[in-house]
């Protein structure tokens, strides 16, 4: 268990289009204050890379875009409440939080 819950180091894997938009290679490492949730991780991600605002969730409502999904630890977290705690391996930095473009098309 992560004994220091005030700050977590979260590894985030972005899809290729968003990596290019954010001008990053490979994974992004984010220090997330407080409890690590989908919402707090995305807040931190958008704060560091403002160009990603609106690409994963709607500006106004904060809702996940329909063709974006969130995976971690071989689970689909897309429909979890945005404020639900992320799995412990993600919080400990053992597993990444995956932002995925939904499989669609050929």
């Amino acid at each position: 268990m992560n004994t220091d819950m005030s700050t977590a180091m979260i590894r985030v894997k972005l899809p290729a289009h968003l990596r290019k938009l954010a001008q990053v290679d490979g994974e992004v490492e984010l220090h997330v204050e407080g409890e690590a949730t989908q919402c707090s991780v995305l807040d931190a991600l958008e704060a560091r890379y403002p160009t990603l605002r609106g690409t994963m969730r709607d500006h106004g409502t904060g809702r996940r875009r329909a063709f974006v999904r969130f995976f971690a630890c071989e689970q689909d977290l897309s429909h979890d409440p945005p404020d639900a705690p992320l799995p412990d391996p993600v919080v400990r930095g053992v597993e990444p939080f995956l932002v995925v473009g939904a499989m669609a098309g050929g």
């Binding site: 290729a16 938009l21 160009t51 605002r53 609106g54 690409t55 500006h59 875009r65 473009g101 669609a104």
Partner: protein, 371 residues
Amino acid sequence: MSGVRVLVGTRKGAFVLTSDGKRERWDVSGPHFAGWEIYHVAGSPAEPNRLYASQSSGWFGQLIQRSDDGGTTWQPVGNEFTYDGVPGTHQWYDGTPHPWEFARVWHLEPSLSDPDTVYAGVEDAALFRSGDGGQQWEELRGLREHGSGPHWQPGAGGMCLHTILQDPRDPGRLHVAISAAGVFRTDDAGKTWRPVNRGLQSEGIPDADAEVGHCVHNLARHPSRPDVLFMQKHWDVMRSDDGGESWHDIGGNLPTDFGFPIDVHAHEPDTVYVVPIKSDSEHFPLDGQLRVYRSRTGGNEWEPLTNGLPQSDCYVNVLRDAMAVDSLDSCGVYFGTTGGQVYASADAGDSWAPIVRDLPAVLSVEVQTLT
């Protein structure tokens, strides 16, 4: 040395094609924003190196990109397009109410005088404006809320505001076109609007000459004669001589009056170009022959332009924003196809040659004349 820069939006990125005034040899740059749909790229008439691009994806939504060096480098700017107030409903395809939902920016229209002011026509139909180079966007809500909005319905491509015309005499006057609602005009810089569709007749709506509901595909005008407007409607090529107050049919001898783009020669206000398409159910040229039609009489009398264009087995389409003209002494005409070709004519349409043949499907073509 004069030259031209052709801005091409495609299903999978943007391309910038440049040439000197002869328009014989071309440099091709791109793809910019590879893999994204680029509905439109437009340059500022006031500062030609200022470009704006609409970048979108069904997965990751809408972005606006801006270049300050003629398309060499780009920076994402603001992408928050929020309808002002509660947007309500429009008609869905079956006539039932459907909530207004932002999908994408179809068309960007930089101001004639200020590089930092740019209009955006969006789906679901609305008009936005930025006064700070695209960082912040504000809806001109008077259009959507002028009263007929609940009766607007989507065309096959979505309910999009795709055409924005600025009046060179009066910055307060704009015409916009919406598919499928029609043409709307403001005389007070977007505060109030009214439909200007008298004379249009459309199948597919209960009242063929209704005030709104017409599937207007594109509008064009010559800057020297701002009150003369040309329209390619779903079916019908139309003309107004009074700023849109009334319209009359100028299809004349066209082999079909269905089509998408329409444009006007840079130096001859009565020379008009269209690309006839077989029908609304068969979106390709008649008989597999890609032909631009030109009228030198402001409509009614049309001649086919075929020299250099494929005259057999051609089944591409030319979309509404995919035709443009330059303003060099010998007016250049350009269009892109859904087959990925961009054709250019340096002699006002008499002869054509492809600049590129194998781009992704072309969504839009704009041209800047550089001096």
